[in-house]
Symmetry: C2
Subunit: 320 residues, 2 copies
């Protein structure tokens, strides 16, 4: 029988966005042996964000700059950061040990794991969407709405998020077109009523988006409505067709909601003892940098206490 | 009958530390009519902190500088900030309206209120404590422990926090003296066992602290033990004799724990609809800047949704 050689840690952090980096910063400051695994470069959703104006203390900073700052901050306090490491799966052994298997076949184990793997907005999959991401194409009204004052915007989608965020965007925009492929919305009736009562909102139903176009930034959206090709001049396109949390890596049973977000207690611990979920992978009200760093901090302090409690148990067992 | 002239807002934020300023920044960005009331200058506990190394993105910043940055950030996005305004009481009218009465007799009302009034660590009340605050005297091990690597420290107190944080501080310190005025600790037995098993910890019982002394920073602590005057050379003194959350301003019944911290749901709403508690006044695991800004952000987004829901109700009532 061959034996796996596993690296041992106090805590493993999966994901290198703001939530994971905050957890890692605190874990390192608290002298835990901690490792952070990120499948790409550090930054998570920060790297998909051009300009950030809503992280308290930074009035305006590029997403990529904030990613570097947060990464350096955690690294300089001693966090072991491993970029470009793809996690194949996360499992929980019978004794509660968390086991992380990487795509390269190596294995890391720890009594505590912070799941900070985030997620991705579902893409519409039309030409121009990727090209103009962060330059007029957005997936977050609270994050980016304020960049579009007095402009006309398109919102794509027909669920709760599309209707609620479409209404929200009229706080900034002069007009919001909500474009939906069906002839009616899936959103709750109260949100539909709210949008209908809003004179700045116009519905465009049975319409399929074909292209987002522009020059330096978004200038128009092209769609087909009941067989007819049409076009709107807009300064931005907000897409709300779903969000895919990266919770599928965990093989053990773990409580989650219908959309796959992990459910936690108020200290961000999941239904598995010693496993915390922070940031966008966690079921919570809003996906912001500020809430991500708060989550990560709470999880790291909780993980530190958990590690101490396990030592207490061992001590008691050795005395008995 | 004289009529009070009340100023009306969508949301009132009470307290100008990181939690309140984050709530205010988001409320202003989301175009709510929002006002932030602070009884002193902006900053809250930031102003009692010399150097901050644990707010992700800022590797090292003076507490006073971060206070100015967060204040400017919120103000520049349009938040109405009123410093040196003492709140006399906060009440909730029969229809759910939150009423804030200031010491000067004026009144502000809003459907939503974010309580961010923080709290203060209980002081020991000995000479040198105030003088060396932030220069060797600390009330937070997670915040300041890393500044005392390989030093000897004194911890004052006998409850859970004193024992748990005393043990925690040995991750950095070469030695930790836990000084307690009684002959036994109030802390849970498991925390006492943990401290006893730690070779870096020494207990000093039945000892009354008399003075914290030093030159530029803390150098020693003087105490009286069973009638005898004694002195220890230490690089820092951590005081854990309680924390007083500023929750008493709220006159309406609101759920809280034994220590007076406000209990909330996971979106930081208290037992009163439309009233959120964020930061140090809220019952939560840890008191950090990162968690405070996360709380404030969540509360502001929740308050924004609440204001929209009230408009929905009004619309339905006017239709019916």
């Amino acid at each position: 029988m061959s034996e796996n050689v596993s690296e041992q840690f106090d805590v493993i952090i999966v994901g290198g966005g703001p939530a994971g980096l905050a957890a890692g910063l605190y874990a390192a400051r608290m002298k835990l042996s901690a490792v952070l695994l990120e499948r790409g470069p550090l930054g998570g959703q920060l790297l998909n964000t051009e300009l950030i104006e809503d992280y308290p203390g930074f009035e305006s900073i590029l997403g990529s700059d904030l990613a570097v700052r947060m990464g350096d901050h955690a690294r300089n306090f001693g966090l072991d950061i491993r970029e470009f490491q793809s996690v194949a799966e996360i499992d929980v052994a019978g004794d509660g040990t968390k086991v992380v298997r990487l795509e390269d076949g190596s294995e890391l184990v720890a009594p505590a794991l912070v799941m900070a793997a985030g997620g991705l907005p579902r893409r519409l999959g039309v030409p121009g969407e990727e090209e103009f991401a962060g330059r007029g194409v957005s997936y977050c009204a609270v994050c980016d709405g304020a960049f579009f004052k007095r402009q006309e915007l398109a919102v794509v989608g027909g669920g709760d998020a599309a209707l609620e965020e479409g209404d929200f965007l009229t706080r900034y925009a002069s007009k919001v077109y909500i474009i939906h492929r069906r002839d009616q919305f899936r959103a709750q009736p109260v949100l539909q009523d709210r949008a209908r009562a809003n004179p700045k909102i116009e519905f465009i139903l049975e319409a399929q988006v074909r292209e987002i176009a522009g020059d330096q930034a978004v200038q128009r959206i092209r769609y087909v409505q009941r067989g007819e090709e049409k076009e709107l001049q807009v300064g931005g396109v907000f897409i709300f067709v779903g969000f895919l949390p990266n919770s599928g890596l965990i093989k053990a049973h773990i409580d989650h909601d219908e959309a796959g977000y992990l459910l936690t207690d108020r200290n961000t611990q999941t239904s598995i003892e010693g496993l915390w979920a922070v940031g966008d992978v966690r079921a919570q009200l809003t996906k912001q940098i500020a809430t991500a760093v708060g989550d990560g901090t709470t999880a790291a302090v909780a993980a530190s206490q958990h590690v101490e409690q396990l030592k207490d148990r061992e001590r008691r067992a050795s005395v008995a």
